[in-house]
Symmetry: C2
Subunit: 404 residues, 2 copies
């Protein structure tokens, strides 16, 4: 008998029919002889509705009370899902983050999990019950309700799988797994049977949002066996393996992200501390930076470019302006008509020609590359937003991703 | 500096404008120099909406999971109300039933409060905060979420007022206090400045639903000073006093209840155990009985009549049928076209003519009395549903309740 953690997102529990459908799948896993712990998100767009209510009352919304408010979403899901499972004739019990003892640091709206006290869950599993745990939420040592931030339910699932020593953590989502590219852009994109943790992490952080980045990171650190699969179609998904020996391909997948804005600060003084001053100002406005590229300095002046989510563009520009004099910047330019395309693959580590092939394929489509950033297993290019479909298709073809 | 517990019902927090209005009133009390603990119900008809969702998933709805589901309603209220108070510039913190340590027995959907551990609330009050507690819900010693049943928020407020030794417990509602009769039926009905606990209890249990019966009972037992007043109009309400010396009037108020059905079981055997068998069967179906009248037996046969809420009529009839043979019943009759009118007043204890005056006033209106039941300070009559307005007006006039 193995222990499986199954995570279902908000679309999987939006409305009674979907809840009943999910309940049947969970009960089938239990009846196949496994112990099952389920993690579930708030139904549909309930979280956004609650945020909307809060904004009508207070602006800014106080973080502690926002967590008290938002945690009700997952609590509604766990109760309804437990009811649906009980109605199927199986044993089940719902647990809030507090009841499941998902302990977090005392930080609101983006707490990190520090421990999971498994005694209650163990007791319920031993009693033969399917345990339904509220995702996204936790409790501090002094009984304060916290939430984990966007995508927090994935993190809850991985943390539980790790704490319980689960044999498998299944992330059920509205796609059938991780694909070689977005099938909406590339009709011949293939579902990947397996990828490595590194690749999952790079894909998650470069636009393929099948698993939240933090959860992918935690899975990698704690070696949690992950599977990404569809809530709606009962078909094998993508398994995340510890390592992929004898990999056939240089490139595993092509990802793209259209929620990108590019900021360029030109002519900054080329002296120690410039980047620190700039990005401390940006971080001070709670803006996450994705890529950072600093050009080679000419005559002791350099350009620094970076990308942020579109919604953060103005805040990033303001941050840069606030330190423009201090860092001797000439101009601050911003452009939100850009996108990022990336190729990801563990196979490219020992194959330096891969990036060049990528640039060649884009050039053949007359796509202008504005910024380039690389990691060991990823190459990302910022390009004009209008070229993203052509770019993804060209790269998918260049690296022959339509064939196994 | 006194400590005041203020309870606001669901209509008081239905929507952002009402929440802001309530927040202003609470902050005004705080700024007048009082410590304030607020108890709040779920917004508007959220509880009914949640029950509707549950019924689409499971029937019957499992009680434990229903409590997990329903307790989210008050959690939404406390978070939004705390946000609104913070936005007014006052210090506030919301506490769920669990966080406020409202300890209940381990019974779902109708748990009783067994203790309130006041340490967390005391700590928050000492820090100068207005404390917003979720009504209707509690937690067992093993961390199970429970709810207290209909009107449970009143009970939470009275229990907190008692545990904290509050100077006053204010029940804010959509009426301006306790009236000598329902002003919708009797235009000349007066707000009562004060009534006794006994009278409040009798009025609450006979249709004047300004305070939930259980809460009135608990207030009486624990001598909690209560005031019933309007959420919307800032005007003195009705104070519930320990006793009312030198009472001027025989009768304090006239109440009516149209949510009544009458069951009559005819010709039952007049022997010990008959009533026990019948009402054990009724209680077994979770039906609450209000009045019970057993007629004087003729030739060793008696009739037993009782009243229940209209929604429980069929269940009560089935219960009676299930024991009909055992108790030798001839017929089981049911009628939901009835209502109950009552006169309540501590002054009638030593005035035996009061009931007779009531019957006379009804007879003068040609209203047929179907059942009569009396307590020390109340006389109730079951009458045809269509006569209720005429009956209440006639009784209000008979006992001169329009004048102080």
């Amino acid at each position: 008998m193995s222990l499986i953690v199954q995570k279902f997102g908000g679309t999987s529990v939006a409305g009674p029919d979907r809840i009943k459908h999910v309940a049947k799948r969970i009960v089938a896993t239990r009846r196949a002889g496994h112990q099952v712990v389920v993690v579930v998100s708030a139904p549909g767009d309930m979280t956004d509705e609650l945020i909307g209510m809060a904004r009508q009352i207070a602006d800014p919304v106080p973080a502690r009370e926002l967590d008290v408010l938002l945690s009700t979403g997952e609590q509604v899901s766990i109760a309804l899902l437990a009811m649906a499972i009980l109605a199927e004739g199986a044993e089940a019990i719902s647990l809030t983050g507090a009841q499941a003892q998902i302990k977090t640091e005392h930080v609101h709206t983006r707490a990190r999990i520090v421990a999971v006290n498994r005694s209650r869950i163990d007791r319920e599993l031993a009693a033969g019950r399917i345990v339904i745990v509220a995702g996204f939420q936790g409790i501090t040592d002094d009984e304060e309700i916290t939430t984990l931030g966007r995508g927090g339910s994935d993190t809850t699932a991985v943390a539980l799988a790790s704490a319980l020593g689960a044999d498998l953590c299944q992330i059920y989502t509205d796609v059938e797994g991780v694909f070689s590219a977005d099938p909406r852009l590339v009709p011949e994109a293939r579902r990947l049977q397996e990828i490595s943790y590194d690749e999952l992490l790079e894909m998650a952080s470069s636009g393929a949002l099948v698993v939240q980045t933090r959860a992918a990171e935690m899975a990698m650190q704690h070696r949690v066996r992950l599977e990404v699969r569809s809530s709606f179609v009962d078909r094998e998904g993508t398994v995340v393996t510890d390592s992929a020996f004898e990999r056939q391909k240089l490139v595993t997948g092509v990802t793209h992200d259209t929620n990108v804005a590019k900021i360029t600060v030109t002519g900054v003084g080329d002296r120690p501390g410039t980047a620190h001053t700039l990005f401390r100002a940006v971080a001070g406005r709670q803006v996450n930076v994705n890529l950072i590229i600093q050009s080679v300095p000419r005559t002791e002046r350099a350009d620094i470019s970076f990308t942020v989510a579109k919604a953060d563009m103005l805040a990033a520009v303001e941050a840069a302006r606030s330190v423009a004099a201090a860092i001797g910047a000439e101009e601050i330019l911003a452009d939100d008509q850009v996108a990022m395309v990336s190729i990801v693959g563990a196979g490219m580590i020992s194959n330096p020609g891969v990036a060049a092939r990528m640039f060649g394929a884009l050039a053949a489509q007359k796509i202008n590359i504005q910024l380039i950033a690389t990691s060991e297993i990823k190459v990302s290019c910022v390009i004009p937003a209008g070229d993203v479909t052509a770019a993804v298709r060209a790269l998918h073809k260049e690296f022959v991703l339509d064939r196994t």
